[in-house]
Symmetry: C2
Subunit: 223 residues, 2 copies
């Protein structure tokens, strides 16, 4: 047994990790326990040479001609994506969705905790929900600095999303999970990830239609 | 102007559409208005020959050596993913998350409507939330048949997720959007899509860490 330290991954490799992990989990749940880079390439649509190079950054994950052990890859990639440190997270917007997030509060992962909560609604500010005191947006920058926060979740609806994100970015937050799917403008150094439930649902329906009957004809202009 | 009808797409092509659309939208928001298949291949990690073949199923979307117009592709792919028909959707689970979904009810897309609502909690059954009557799970099969439903959203937490999905599948539903990320077992003909907020958040934090400081060392056993 040898312990190996991983250097900073190339950004392109890092970007592929979540997709690798998702596909590996799907394989595992279909009972696949070993996979070759060529087969994995077909599933992920990433060239097999790229897969082998990506995996090589993470050490000796497989043997030539033998393939990779799926459960082992899942363990390595899960560890890689998991934060070793505790992350305190700010929540902006305490409507029904915000309340659902607070009630659950990522209890599946003990390192992730919403600890500071904000809203702009005067009827909510100063009240307590499930033990969380709801602060005004004016207090965001102060709380972010005080608690060294870098991550925020916003559930603010689309028409006020940019406004809320501006305040969040101004406060020093660099990573934002946004439940409003409309693209917001942020400085280069800020990461935004969108949860777009409408698109998820449309994708699901699209596949369902593909499975069950001939897809409705789509008309468009030829160029 | 010529109108063209699209035949059933190969399943592999269909699976790539959501990713194509997501990447095109990202390109558009960075101001890119035209792209060649080779450039798009670098972004999507799909070989350029595959991209050209996929696009060819959808008609003449671009000109050789000139590339594809990004806004036009977005329009075509959005139309393709959009349901032309109205989809009535069942919602199972009316906790805070279910309530948030009902309040919003996909109002961005007039074809998507949650119309039937179910819960197993006796204190909710028979009550009305935001105009929606909450039915018991026992009524699911009857309502699905009565309204010709094929799509359901479940917000039932992980430890009861399989149970709820079994009832949903039994009722005749073939497409399920599941907010509990643990994989459930369903027959082959049923599509399940998972919303996994913990993984989304971990992915965001992972990229944030990559950007801001050297990633924490990850240790694992070499094989």
């Amino acid at each position: 047994m040898e312990v190996k330290e991983i250097k900073k991954l190339p950004k392109a490799t890092a970007k592929r990790l979540p997709s690798y992990l998702r596909n590996l989990k799907a394989l595992e749940s279909s009972g696949v326990i070993r996979i070759k880079s060529k087969e994995f390439a077909e599933i992920t649509h990433v060239p097999s040479a790229t897969i082998r190079r990506d995996f090589s950054y993470l050490g000796e994950l497989g043997r030539s001609g033998y393939g990779y052990e799926v459960p082992f890859l899942i363990e390595v990639f899960s560890n890689l994506l998991a934060t070793e440190e505790e992350k305190d997270i700010a929540l902006v917007g305490v409507g029904n969705l915000g309340k659902a997030l607070l009630k659950n509060n990522f209890r599946r992962n003990e390192n992730l905790n919403i600890t500071c909560v904000f809203d702009s609604d005067p009827s909510l500010i100063g009240t307590v929900f499930e033990g969380y005191y709801i602060h005004s947006m004016d207090e965001l920058a102060e709380k972010v600095a005080e608690n060294g926060l870098t991550v925020a979740i916003t559930t603010v609806p689309s028409h006020h999303s940019q406004e809320a994100v501006d305040v969040i970015v101004e406060s020093g937050i660099t990573a934002i999970l946004n439940f409003a799917p409309d693209r917001v403008t942020v400085p280069d150094e800020v990461n935004v990830r969108y949860i777009d439930l409408t698109t998820e649902l449309l994708t699901l329906i699209f596949f369902d239609n593909q499975n069950h009957y001939k897809m409705p004809a789509v008309h468009f202009n030829e160029q």
